[in-house]
Each structure stands twice: as C-alpha cells, then as structure tokens.
C-alpha cells in the first residue's frame, strides 16, 4: 500500500463534499436532482475511505511501522518548513478504521432518516465534510495540520447543529457549540504556540516533537499540557465546557450520532493519546485530566437521571462516557482509553440511531414519557436498543463491559481510589438512567394509538450491523483472565512504559463488582419504571432536572458581563467617541466647503480682482526675494 493513498483517505470525502455542495446548488437553482443521487455519492465516499483504511491496516499488520506522506509545503519561511503531512501509524489508522466504518453506517442511516428533507444534498455535503475534517485531524503529521482538522470539525458541527436554521433555538444551539469550542480552541492554540516557541525550531511534526520534548522545562510542559487539555475539554465536552453538547441535540439525529460516536468528541481523547510523550512527562496534569474526567462522568450521569428528552439523556451519557475515557488517558492508560472510544463508538451510534428510529416512528416525539409500549410495535428497535443499553451499562459479554472494567481496574491499580469509586458509582448510575429510558420507552403503559411511521431498510440495516458491533467489539480487548493477548494493547502498544499487573483473581473480583454495580442500577430502574403507569405526565423539577442551573450560572457570570461590555463599547465608545470624531470631521469639511463655495460667485470682475491680488503678491514676493 503506497503511502500516497493516505491523502486520499481525507481527499475522497472532501472532494465528495465539494461535489455534493455544487450539485445541491445546481439542484435548487436549475433542475431538481433526485435524493438517490446525493445519497449514493455521499455513502460511497466514507466507504472508499474505509477500504483504504483497511488497506493500511493490513499493511501495518504485515510489518510496516508507519506510513508518511508529505505532498507539499504547507508553510515555508526561509529554511523553516512545515509540510502538509499525513501520518498513518497504528493509532491514526485505528481511528480511521472506526471513524469511517461507523461514519459509513451513519451515512446509510441518514439516507433514510433525512428522506424528503429540502436540504438533503446540503446535509450530505456537510456530513462528508465532517468525516473529511475528522480524518484530517487523526491523519495529520503535525499539530498544525491537526489544528486544521480540529477547527473544521468545529465548523461542521456548527453547520449541522444549526441545520434547521429556521428555528431560532437551533441557531442558538449551533452558536453555543461553536462558541464553547472556540474557548477550547483558544486553549489548544496557546498550547501549540508554547510548544512551537520551545521546540518548534527543531521541526514541528510529532516525531520531532517526541524526540526533543525533553528540552522543554517542566513548568512549561505543565502549561502546554493544561492548555492543550483545555482544547480537549471543548471538543470532548468535559467540565466546564460540556454545555454545548446537550444543546447540540437540536440537529437531526444522525448528526448527533456522528458527533457522539465517530467524530468530534473523540478528538480530545485522540489528542491526549497523540501527545502521550508530553503527558507522560507531567503525570500531575494527567491526574488532573483523570479527575476532570471522573467528575464529568459523575456529573453528567446525575443530570441524565432526571431528563425526559430521549436525545438529551443520550447526550449526557456521552459526556459521562467521555469522562471514563479521560480517566484512562489521564492515568497514562492510552490504549485502554482508546479501547473505550472504540466500543463507545459502536453502542453510542447504535443508541442514537435507535432513538432516531423511535423519534421518526412516533412522528418526531422526543419525550420518553410520551412513548411507552413500543416493545411489540418496534421489535427490531427493541432488540438493538437492549443490546446497546446492556453494552453501555457494562453487562458482559457486551462491548462496554470490557472497556469500562479495564478503565476501572487501571484506576484502582494506580491507587486512585477516589476515581475508582466515582467510576463505579457512575457505572451504576449509567445502568440506572439508561434502563429508565429503556423501560419507559418500550415497556411503559403509556400506549399511543397513533399510527407508526414505517422505517425504511436503510435505517434498519445499519442498526443490525452496529448491534453486532456493540455486542462483540469488546472481544478485541479481553482481560488477561480470558485470553493472553489483548488485541487493542498489542496493536497500540504500551506507550507509557508503566505496566499494570493484575492477578487473575483480582480481575475476576473487579469484573464481579462492576457487574453487580450495573445490575443494581438496572434493578432500581426496573422497580421504579418497568410497570409504572405514565398516563399522567411526570412533572420533574428540582436542581438536578434543571442541570444544576449551570447554563443559568454561565449566562449570569459570563454572557451578561460580555453583553454589558459590548453595550458599553457600542454606546459609549462607538457612538460617543468614534462616531462623534468622524461626524465632526466630516461636518467641518462640509462647512468649509460651503464657505469656499461662496467664493464661486460667477462675478467675472471679482475673479479678475482675485487674479490681480494673486499676481501682485507673487510679483512682490519675487521683487523682494530675488531683488536683494
């Protein structure tokens, strides 16, 4: 496999996005183009990328260490050169594989979900662009190129969250996502600038950075690591920048699936793993990351317990699961964190697409307390959602169990008992709120007589594929007690150099504890919600239901301050100072012009008199100046 094709992994969806965009413009202005054309092109692109990814995967498996392709110079100042570089090592190809695989499935699903929408072509153009940006982010050879993908991902999320832009609420949600991400991006940029300042002169791709990272003083490394993590907080929705993710539900459901499973939110985890050489040198920042992850996990899970919007519950569950990933990468267990990224991609995509199917079937109803009794009416959705719920709740042998259990084991073995405790408790909460959703939706007595909207095959087929993934993808990272080769660890390698040894009996105990925690959560949900009659809509209130008033707090502390500052600048500085200066200047010129204009009296004799004065003074000047 020639490394030349690395660029094409990114280029195919990018070209397809541009082509779809042009085709869409043609379609709305000249002649209507059938939705099938758009869908076919859009679905082909990620599938082709996936096939290229598989090619590279096989190449790496057969012994190639990494692929590097540097087609041209991105930035050249005298001798200093930053190449447009693509790096295909084990980590990035691993990311490419699941991004394109899950991405393709979501594309197929979206082809059915978006049917009949006016912006069909536009939607898929953005969708392909999203995938292309994410692929550029993971395939980049240097942080600069990564930053291009990093920003484009933010842009695409903005475009897609505000896709139904006729509703102002959606626009607000899109803005919120973009602004929260900008805050994070600023941190990321500061980190990059520091990094460049200290080691940039020796080359700015990952291998050079890894080689020379030792020359950076330790306290600077702490700043760089923290600043980069601020970027990860924004992209991966951790405390305190998580606020955009629940609101991002304003977009169509496939967008949520794409953001939460395949792209965007995993970027932060990937970034920390990519900069592992940096974070290995500053374990304190790593610990900070792990604690942020743990608190995000707990916090989001607590909020999710009280929500009634099906997509909001899933959004908070994503924040919670991302928290687990950051626990792992913060503690230096990068392969474990990425393992959870991998399994999470399957079951979260499945959850969102299942939820989307329910929403479509019930004519865009999102409140779980208005669903109920769907088990018999949507048997396929029931089965796949059950698989996904078991996977996220950590019930063996489904995917989430292995990755979550390994994270908890690593946390315990690092003697971070507080993180372990939070993680375990959150696992129980996760099981509780997910099965609360599940029981209310599928078993609740709140049977609606409304006729269900039929679901097309393109929505059902990806669900089945993902259900298999959610059920079995955990087996690539089996704990030692079952198998001596953990495929994920073998593939990604152990970068941190710290190996955790756990006896078999310990592993079994930990698994048992995790399973019990999950089962307790499910049992509580069963007791409370399995046979609950929701003929009366549940009235929720209180601090948890209102998400701890964080949005209001941010609004009060930051948004209003910024707004009053803007008002001050607009009214006092702009109107009072700048406008006044400019207006008085121009008024002065107008008055001056009026006075000069009066001299144009059309009185010829007056003109001649002026001429006389001018000539006389000029002559006098000449006489007295030159006559001396």
């Amino acid at each position: 496999m020639s490394s030349y094709f690395l660029a094409w992994i990114v280029l195919i969806p990018l070209i397809s996005a541009a082509f779809l965009g042009i085709l869409y413009l043609y379609s709305i202005t000249v002649k209507k183009i059938s939705d099938k054309v758009f869908a076919t092109i859009a679905i082909t692109a990620p599938i082709l990328s996936f096939m290229l990814g598989v090619g590279f995967f096989l190449g790496l498996k057969n012994g190639a260490s990494e692929y590097i392709y540097e087609p041209y110079i991105w930035l050249g100042v005298n001798d200093y050169i930053i190449n447009m570089g693509f790096l295909g090592d084990k980590l990035s190809i691993f990311m490419v594989l699941f991004i394109t695989f899950i991405g393709s499935l979501i594309h197929i699903y979206a082809a059915g979900y978006m049917k009949g929408d006016d912006g069909y072509g536009k939607f898929f153009s953005y969708f392909n662009l999203f995938v292309a940006s994410m692929l550029l982010l993971v395939l980049a050879n240097s942080p600069i190129i990564m930053f291009i993908g990093w920003e484009s991902v933010g842009l695409c999320s903005y475009l897609l969250i505000g896709f139904y832009f006729t509703d102002p609420l959606n626009v607000v949600a899109g803005n919120k996502a973009f602004i929260a991400n900008r805050v994070g991006d600023l941190g990321f940029l500061i980190g990059l600038v520091y990094l460049f300042f200290y080691v940039g002169k020796l080359g700015f791709d990952y291998s050079a950075l890894e080689q020379y990272i030792d020359i950076v003083p330790n306290h600077i490394l702490v700043i760089i690591g923290s600043a980069l993590f601020v970027g990860a907080m924004g992209k991966s929705a951790q405390i305190p920048l998580y606020v955009w993710l629940p609101d991002a539900m304003a977009g169509p459901t496939p967008v949520s699936a794409l953001i939460h499973a395949a792209t965007m939110v995993t970027a932060g985890v990937y970034m920390v793993a990519r900069f592992h050489f940096l974070y290995d040198l500053i374990p304190n920042v790593g610990l900070f990351i792990a604690y942020i992850g743990a608190f995000s996990a707990l916090f989001a899970a607590v909020i999710a317990m009280k929500q009634s919007d099906i997509k909001k519950i899933l959004a908070y569950s994503t924040i919670s699961q991302l928290g687990y990933m950051f626990i792992a990468v913060g503690l230096g267990a990068y392969s474990t964190g990425l393992f959870h990224v991998f399994t999470h991609a399957f079951f979260k995509a499945l959850l969102f697409m299942g939820a989307g199917a329910i929403i479509i079937a019930l004519h865009h109803e999102q409140n779980i307390f208005k669903m109920g009794g769907l088990r018999k009416r949507l048997p396929l959705i029931y089965i796949v959602m059950l698989v996904a719920n078991l996977a996220i709740s950590g019930i063996p042998p489904f995917a989430g169990f292995f990755s979550k259990d390994e994270i908890l084991l690593k946390a315990y073995k690092h003697h971070e008992y507080l993180i372990y405790g939070i993680g375990l408790f959150t696992a129980a909460l996760t099981a509780y709120y997910m099965f609360r959703l599940f029981f209310v939706t599928f078993e609740g007595k709140n049977y609606t007589e409304k006729k269900l909207e039929p679901l097309s095959w393109s929505m059902k087929a990806p669900l089945v594929v993902l259900a298999f993934g959610a059920a079995f993808s955990g087996f690539v990272g089996l704990p030692k007690v079952f198998s001596n080769t953990n495929l994920i660890d073998t593939w990604l390698g152990n970068w941190s150099g710290v190996s955790i040894h756990a006896e078999h009996y310990e592993e079994i105990i930990f698994m048992g504890v995790s399973v019990i925690a999950g089962l307790i959560g499910i049992a509580v949900a069963y007791v409370k919600f399995f046979k609950y009659d929701f003929s009366q809509e549940l009235k929720e209130g209180g601090i948890v239901y209102n998400k701890f008033y964080i949005d209001e707090l941010i609004d009060f502390l930051i948004v209003r301050r910024v707004r009053s500052l803007s008002t001050f600048i607009s009214v006092v500085i702009d109107d009072g100072v700048i406008d006044k200066t400019v207006m008085s200047l121009s008024n002065g010129f107008i008055n001056l012009g009026r006075r000069v204009g009066r001299m144009q009296s059309a009185n010829t004799r007056m003109y001649a008199f002026f001429m006389l004065i001018g000539l006389s003074s000029f002559s006098l000047y000449l006489i007295f100046k030159l006559g001396q």
Binding site: R594, G597, Q600, S601, A602, T604, R605
Partner: protein, 105 residues
C-alpha cells in the same frame, strides 16, 4: 528733446494699470476686451523699449509676434462675443453666471 528710458516704462505701467482697472470695473464685454488689448500692448511697449535699451533685436521680434497673434486672437474673441450675444442678447458680463453656486449644500 531726448525722451528718457524710464518714461517709456512709466507709460507702459500706466497703460497696464488702466487695462487692469478696465477689466475689473467695467461690465461691457467689449470694453473688457479693449482693456485686455491695452494690457497686451503695454507689455509690447516694454519689450520694444528694453530691446532698444540693450541693443538687442529679440524683444522687437517678440513684440511683432505678439501683435500678429493678438490680431488672430481678436478674430476669435470677437466671434465669441457675437455668439455670446446670440445666446442671451446681452453684453453685460454679469449676465453670464451659469457656474455660480446656487443656494446652499
């Protein structure tokens, strides 16, 4: 009686000043034109005087040229005055004020 060099210059200055006063104070286009010619000829007088004084013929040649061109100019000027008169039936210079600023901005 020998006429001094300075008295020629003085005469030229008087003629020139009369011309200027004519241009500034009179309203009749013809009189303005005649004043202009007066100024022109006062300059000719200076040229000729200086030529005689310094014994150099250049000034006289230029004076002849000015007289010739003034003749041509007179033809143009008079025809312009005729067409101006056809336009407004007036030879009062104050009636020709098309470029005057009207009102305020």
């Amino acid at each position: 009686m020998e006429v001094s060099f300075m008295s020629y210059i003085l005469l030229a200055i008087i003629l020139f000043s009369m011309g200027i006063m004519g241009v500034i104070s009179r309203k009749n286009i013809f009189i303005i034109y005649m004043s202009l010619e007066l100024m022109l000829n006062s300059i000719n007088l200076i040229l000729v005087t200086l030529s005689k004084h310094f014994g150099n013929m250049d000034g006289q040649i230029i004076a002849m040229m000015v007289i010739a061109i003034a003749a041509a100019e007179a033809a143009v000027f008079l025809s312009l005055i005729v067409s101006l008169y056809r336009l407004k039936h007036s030879i009062n210079i104050d009636d020709y004020n098309t470029l005057k600023q009207k009102g305020t901005l």
